[in-house]
Symmetry: C2
Subunit: 494 residues, 2 copies
């Protein structure tokens, strides 16, 4: 069975003609046409199967029958706006609330992570009466204009980036490459103090901080796991300044981290954000998202006098799909699977680190894992071209992985939550082979002693190539990829 | 068969507990619980049928089987992001393009009208390098922060509204209540000159105008039909200033106006906007939307160096649904139906105007119709309470209609496009009865001569109650509605 209407070349031509050229495809010099998908596997027009290691949107597995059924049945019955009462809306809100700390009890349903983060800012601005926002370096929070402003990952891409005067960029709490590392006695306090310094500087200019926003684990920023206790200390500083703490769970929520349902919970039970935003996995691909906040914030927003209406947000179909996703996570114990398989994957990758000099750091929680590649374990020189090479070679072997972070040198695992140990074995085995080839061609060997590796002494290397990349994820232009491929050829076939 | 999970009271309680209090329901003192819908009819939990005169989202009719089937089948196969090639995306873009003037050839798929209008602003800002935006009075363009800024309909609701210095509000081209009316020799030029004056004032302050944005027909602003030729003249001024013309078709596109597929086409074939945004009806309730622009604008946006990625936008399920909607519009000749039934509805309403002094103006195109109620046809005093009374009394008779506009005195018809002449007969008959009762209670009679009516001489009455309403559409708070009901009781039962 084929679901193809056009030959691939025609699809590419029509795309060039009618789709915005800023919208990139993966592997732009030889993009993939996918016609169906199931679980953690995607299939191209010739029936070739790809293992999907990157799609955190297809959270409970591509085309999950329970999700499809829930959506189809509700579409047949009713799909309308939330100005009418409907049980799906309130039942879904109740179910979501049960996964969260009690004080996070009021939901707003919207259509995308971007709409959620924009609304979170509106809530914070209204509640605090303050305009300034503190964001982390390399952060990505969405594509609407208010969020480009607070997304260094995006605005660094602009030739003539003009940073808003009301946005302050704090250090990314990166223990591998950041200002304060594993060997620092108290990186949580040191990174939180940086946020406090920004608050004080804003105050000196007569500004007031309305919100601190961070992904609970930085995703596009390079799979960064902030030290436990960091969020508590930041929240203390931000609250002191009259601001709110927004935890962006768009990429990392819904059980992905394995031990907890929400990634902010990794910081400890004593931490509760003021606002949580959700997105990507919430509807397994259906466009929906949510903002949850406290009664106090919600009432202040109401008291502004402005109604909030979102045409599609919280419609019965979206909520039926959201409910089905929660059911599947529970029924198939996908959070448990993320913990088990994620742990297994981390152990396999740690073995790669022991074997391959290019593997600088392995970090992750559950099925949110990063492998940072470096040319030099002391200088931490990003192995950007090598990371891209791995991604392209994996694609040739029908495995989809991406490289991200400010240097695009972090291999990023965030597969559908039904990912198995066999899948982990397969991808790591291929990575092993590719790394072996690359290192052989480059003449790289493991250092004879391990005590010179990262963590053994403090370094203050600053990111050198920040903003050098021009695309999100693994897509890049034909020119870049060809140039890259030819560089690789030179290196690998001297 | 019932699709109810909770008794209605429980649904209301859970909603109060878990849904943001800024999210209003229709008829808040006695909201409706809808459990299914078909065509232009919605059904409550007791099987009571409501005629839907307001839902322009359920464009081809609620739960249309062809749309449901297309969505369900594609969900079963694949739902992923647009970084993979897929035929649905390019086929849909091609089909959309075929409905538009040739130079509007490049599409960006997003998830909501708000995302579409925000992206339109980003395109205009990037292409022109100018920051200022001209918007119409009473306009509504969406709920994300950048759009609240350009939506007087929303920011007038705020107690302490602070208008952005880069936003300029032009006169609404309202021929009934605006500065220049039916009797003006050339209202198109007069209103366009107002836009030009704003441009000149912006220039005097050293500002530059990046965009003029307007709904092709103002919807929330009071079903306003701009005079033909107005957009051409505005576009001339805006282009001269280096800005772009954005036509917001979110509420009014996809054949609703009957004679044309897009409402901006009512202005004449010589008018082509630089950017068109689409939304609500595009997916018959499924969250999706689109921005279409010219190759030049799209290339300039690309040249900024920033990728545009939208997680859900343009996914195969959304595009399958979008294609099905286009198919149904064609197959069932819904554009033709809008023209025929809309014309019939207008004639029925015109008869009401001849009979009822409260009916000040009937205006519309196709199935986008407004009936403006006034207490005095010379002073144009808005009959706000009477309009609300009609809405509530129609609800008791199981007809859903809304009142909107800056004075909430415009009865607003924008039903699913399968609306029939029988439906029109039914709603107008009920309105006739209700108007008769209200006018009797108020002691209102038709003026003995008609030549003092609107249009016979120029008036410059300014809106007196702008910003007085606190909700979008017909929802309002329990307190307000009770107060209103008691006022009505006083008036109707003296």
């Amino acid at each position: 069975m084929t679901a193809e209407m056009f030959p691939k070349e025609k699809t590419i031509d029509l795309r060039k003609k009618h789709i915005g050229p800023s919208c990139k495809v993966f592997f732009s010099h030889d993009p993939i046409k996918i016609v169906r998908a199931k679980g953690q596997y995607m299939y191209d027009e010739n029936g070739v199967r790809y293992l999907d290691c990157i799609n955190n949107v297809a959270h409970v597995g591509h085309s999950h029958p329970m999700v499809v059924k829930a959506g189809a049945e509700q579409m047949e019955l009713l799909n309308t706006n939330s100005r009418f009462l409907h049980d799906n809306l309130v039942q879904y809100a109740q179910r979501l609330q049960a996964t969260l700390p009690e004080k996070l009890s009021v939901c707003y349903f919207v259509n995308s992570g971007s709409e959620a983060n924009d609304l979170a800012l509106r809530l914070a601005w209204e509640y605090t009466g303050h305009k300034d926002v503190i964001t982390l370096d390399n952060a990505y929070h969405g594509h609407v204009s208010s969020l480009i402003n607070i997304s260094p990952y995006k605005f660094h891409q602009l030739a003539n980036a003009e940073q808003s005067k009301s946005v302050h960029v704090a250090l990314s709490p990166d223990l591998y490459r950041g200002n304060y590392r594993q060997d620092h006695p108290d990186p949580a306090t040191a990174y939180a103090d940086d946020v406090n310094n920004l608050i004080q500087k804003a105050h000196e200019k007569g500004h007031k901080v309305g919100a601190f926003i961070a992904e609970s684990l930085q995703s596009c920023g390079g799979q960064v796991i902030p030290p436990a206790g960091y969020f508590q200390k930041v929240a203390q500083h931000v609250h002191q300044a009259g601001g709110l703490f927004i935890a962006d769970e768009v990429q990392v929520g819904f059980g992905r981290v394995g031990t907890h349902f929400w990634a902010f919970q990794l910081q400890g039970e004593d931490f509760v954000p003021d606002i949580v935003t959700m997105g990507k996995p919430i509807g397994n691909g259906h466009p929906m998202s949510c903002v949850v906040t406290t009664r106090e914030v919600a009432e202040a927003f109401k008291n502004s006098g402005m109604e909030y209406f979102n045409t599609f947000g919280g419609n019965p179909v979206s909520c039926a799909i959201g409910l089905a996703v929660l059911d599947v996570i529970e029924k198939e114990d996908l959070q448990g699977n993320a913990l088990r398989v994620g742990g297994y994957l981390m152990r396999l990758l740690e073995q790669q680190k022991e074997k391959h000099p290019l593997v600088g750091d392995i970090r992750g929680r559950g099925l949110f894992v990063g492998a940072e590649l470096v040319r030099d374990r002391v200088k931490l020189t990003p192995a950007t071209a090598e990371a891209q090479d791995i991604i392209y070679k994996l694609k040739e072997q029908h495995i989809l992985l991406s490289a991200d972070g400010p240097h695009r040198n972090v291999l990023k695992f965030k597969p559908p939550m039904c990912f198995s140990e066999e899948d982990a074995d397969m991808v790591v085995e291929k990575i092993d082979e590719i790394l072996t080839d690359i290192e052989k061609a480059l003449g790289l060997q493991m250092p004879s002693t391990v005590h010179t590796e990262n963590g053994s002494h403090k370094r203050n290397v600053q990111p050198e190539e920040n903003g050098c990349h021009h695309s999100n994820g693994i897509g890049h232009s034909r020119d870049t990829s060809q140039q890259h491929a030819s560089q690789q050829n030179k290196r690998l076939r001297p």
